[in-house]
Amino acid sequence: MARGAGALIARTTALALAALTLGPVAAVLWRAGGGMPGAADLAALRFTVLQAVLSALASVICAIPLARALARRRFPGRALAISALGAPFLLPVIVAVLGLLAIFGRSGIFNTALRDLGLPQISIFGLGGVVLAHVFLNMPLATRMILQGWQAIPAERIRLAESLGFGPAHILRHIELPMLRDVVPGAALAVFAICLTSFAVVLVLGGGPAATTVELAIYQAVRFEFDLARAATLALMQVAACGVALALAAAFTLPSGFGAGLDRGQVLPRPGGWCRLADAAAITLAALFIGGPILSVVLRGLPGLADLPGAVWPALGNSLLVAVLAAPMAVGGALALAMGRAQGLRGLEPLAMLPMAGSALVLGTGLFLLVFPFVSPAAVALPVTVIVTAVMALPFAYRILVPEALRLVQDHGRLAAALDLRGFAALRLLILPRLRRPLGFALGLTAALAVGDLGVVALFAAENGATLPLVIQRLMGAYRMDAAAGAALLLVGAAFALFWICDQWGRGGTDT
């Protein structure tokens, strides 16, 4: 199956990704020469990996019961709740952190309640706080990925199990666990990679220099020491850590091999009794944990919405433009890679995940070094922003698409081959209709990420090219915290609207 235009596109995309992520690192190395990491860098790497592993494990452990509850229960507002799972992921980091502080901070609701009850208060600062924030930001994403796994179990398998008299324990063992074995390693890997390069969350909630990450060391190397050699070495350390995680995840993944179904409406068994209570508890706790900080972001931003400064509107336009251009690029590239991987092309997976492990600062610096000798960086701000955003978002789209692409090829590959269904016809008749749900989710997620993205392209910012996250940062930098909170709410609203539109399209008005 791995032939023709699809394979060519997949290979080209993979090469372009490698060039765009490793090229800038190479440019930095070429400019600076190599360097060896010192003892402090190794300590930073240790802490970085530790917090990323804990965050990834905690996120998927919380996500599994929640995804299961969402998969098998029906309740009013369920569709909205599933969409809203995208929200934390879309928040600009500092806004998310302030939202968490409003709940779990020193003067937050949680500690105020503890104080009123005469109980000792908790501190959010330290490793626990870092993991808490990462779970808040990433558990919803993991939930959506795992939920997809449940939804993809063919209805026939469930019916067969029921007719054989399987109870919940048997269904868990023979159907749900194999599905989890298929989906969970990928979800954990995605969360791990995100947390590996997390910068502001770790610094703000880490509580001090004991919580030093590799990304901070890179920041320091580039900005205060202008030690590009060290920065590039550190960036490669991050890539290596992600590579190890990728290999581990691949070793743990087992395809579930349920075989094809007939697309009947799926009805998972809904056991009553304590199972019902446990599901209700999972959903309620998640709603409080995710909804609380989001609600505080909304309430904090509302007063500021009234008098937003004029700079916000063109910035919103710029951000939306980047999102609308970058999201289809990211999803298109991810689809090509996911289908290529599903059809047996080798070596695509590491390349597809590469941008997640890349240091944003080194990537931006390298691109700047590559572009600057030829053209004014400000003149190419828009195309660079769009391409970099698409590259950074691609791994997310890939992770969402790849389990479904594998299943598609497994279930329909032989029939498609027999019918000689290839190229554009295969795309139109087979791939797009069958992957519509993950495509919609991936498109929504990447568009929303693009709206919220900042950092990589700061070096390229043109005079009138400011994006909304940049304006929020400028407002905060000029004491205007209320206006910043208002602009952040606007950003969240815009990102969520884009996400919701794409996600709704993907779910095609069905209730799953």
Binding site: V97, L98, R106, P209, F224, Q473
Partner: protein, 328 residues
């Protein structure tokens, strides 16, 4: 063929027109908050362009440290004529790049210390201070603070210029004792943020009793928000200064214009803009004096400032001291 000839002719005549009408462009690199619509940039651009017959073009790059990194990336090919927004903790490293030219000017300055630098001219300055709500019983010095239960937010000296300023403040005030001071402060520090805005945001949201900022920060709340509940703690060991400077690039193709701009930044036209946009003290107090509200600010009796070379030499050992003391 005819078409392409016509195109060429049109292109050439437009290019000629453009060359004729071309006004000189002065490229000023500065930090991000300088050029935002609520920063000093727009007013200064308007005022300078009114008298220079030129186009003043700002390019923004993060903060002072990011600005210098950007210039080093571009090297001798940089289109920048002026770099505006370094502080004295960065000037030694900036000078070492060899990219700057002496300014050759001797303007009258109203800094609380004697200041002379052949390459860099100050345009504004401020004292670092811990800002708090007026109803708080504030400590009188770092030792007082360390002995109290007060919770503070500071910035990371590895990623933020105020954070680096605090490091130098403790070092300048306590020298070899600095390490002990940091150890005793450890339980007062809620957290260390990557930049000023995260720290200040956490303070205004009530996450800390005090935040490292400037003595002039309460002026923003008073003047822009009519809120007089914020003030700064007066420390008797003195307050470290942040002096913000600008310099001319040796590779500038608009050297004369660049000199004019440096001089303009110290005239009343520019200096009256800075206090109420950058919320710092003007480097040369304008004839009309400081804006109303500045008289309510605390006045440190003693100003601390390490020389540029000393600051650079002390940075790495002081960072290590800080890291060791706080890495619990």
């Amino acid at each position: 063929m005819l078409k392409s000839l016509m195109f060429a002719a049109g292109f050439l005549s437009i290019s000629a027109l453009a060359a004729q009408a071309e006004t000189p462009v002065l490229d000023v690199y500065t930090y991000d908050s300088f050029i935002s619509e609520w920063g000093p940039g727009p007013a200064i651009e308007q005022a300078f362009e009114a008298e220079c017959g030129c186009d003043l073009r700002f390019t923004a790059a993060g903060d002072g440290a990011a600005l210098l990194a950007r210039l080093q990336l571009e090297g001798v090919d940089s289109p920048a004529d002026i770099l505006l927004g370094l502080d004295t903790n960065l000037t030694a490293a900036a000078r070492a790049t060899g990219l700057f030219a002496p300014h050759g000017q001797t303007p009258a300055l109203s800094l609380p210390v004697d200041f002379a630098d052949a390459d860099f001219l100050p345009y504004d300055w401020g004292w670092f201070a811990f800002v708090h709500n007026r109803n708080l019983l504030a400590p009188k010095n770092f030792k007082d603070l360390a002995a109290s239960d007060l919770q503070i937010v500071i910035q990371d000296p590895r990623s933020s210029t105020p954070g680096l300023g605090l490091l130098m403040w403790v070092k300048a005030a306590y020298g070899d004792e600095a390490s002990t001071i940091w150890k005793n402060l450890a339980d007062n520090i809620v957290t260390v943020t990557p930049g000023w805005s995260e720290a200040y945001g956490m303070f205004t949201e009530g996450e800390a009793d005090m935040v490292l900022s400037y003595t002039t920060s309460p002026a923003y709340h008073l003047i822009a928000e009519e809120d007089d509940t914020k003030t700064a703690a007066l420390f008797d060991e003195g307050h470290y200064l942040q002096v913000e400077v600008m310099g001319k690039l040796a590779g500038s193709d608009q050297s004369e214009l660049a000199d004019k701009f440096l001089a303009f930044m110290l005239t009343d036209a520019a200096q009256t803009v800075l206090p109420v946009t950058n919320w710092m003290y003007p480097a040369h107090t304008p004839a009309a004096g400081l804006p109303k509200g500045f008289e309510t600010l605390i006045q440190p009796g003693k100003s601390l400032l390490l020389g540029a070379d000393e600051a650079l030499a002390l940075r790495d050992p002081a960072l290590e001291e800080w890291r060791a003391a706080l890495a619990r």
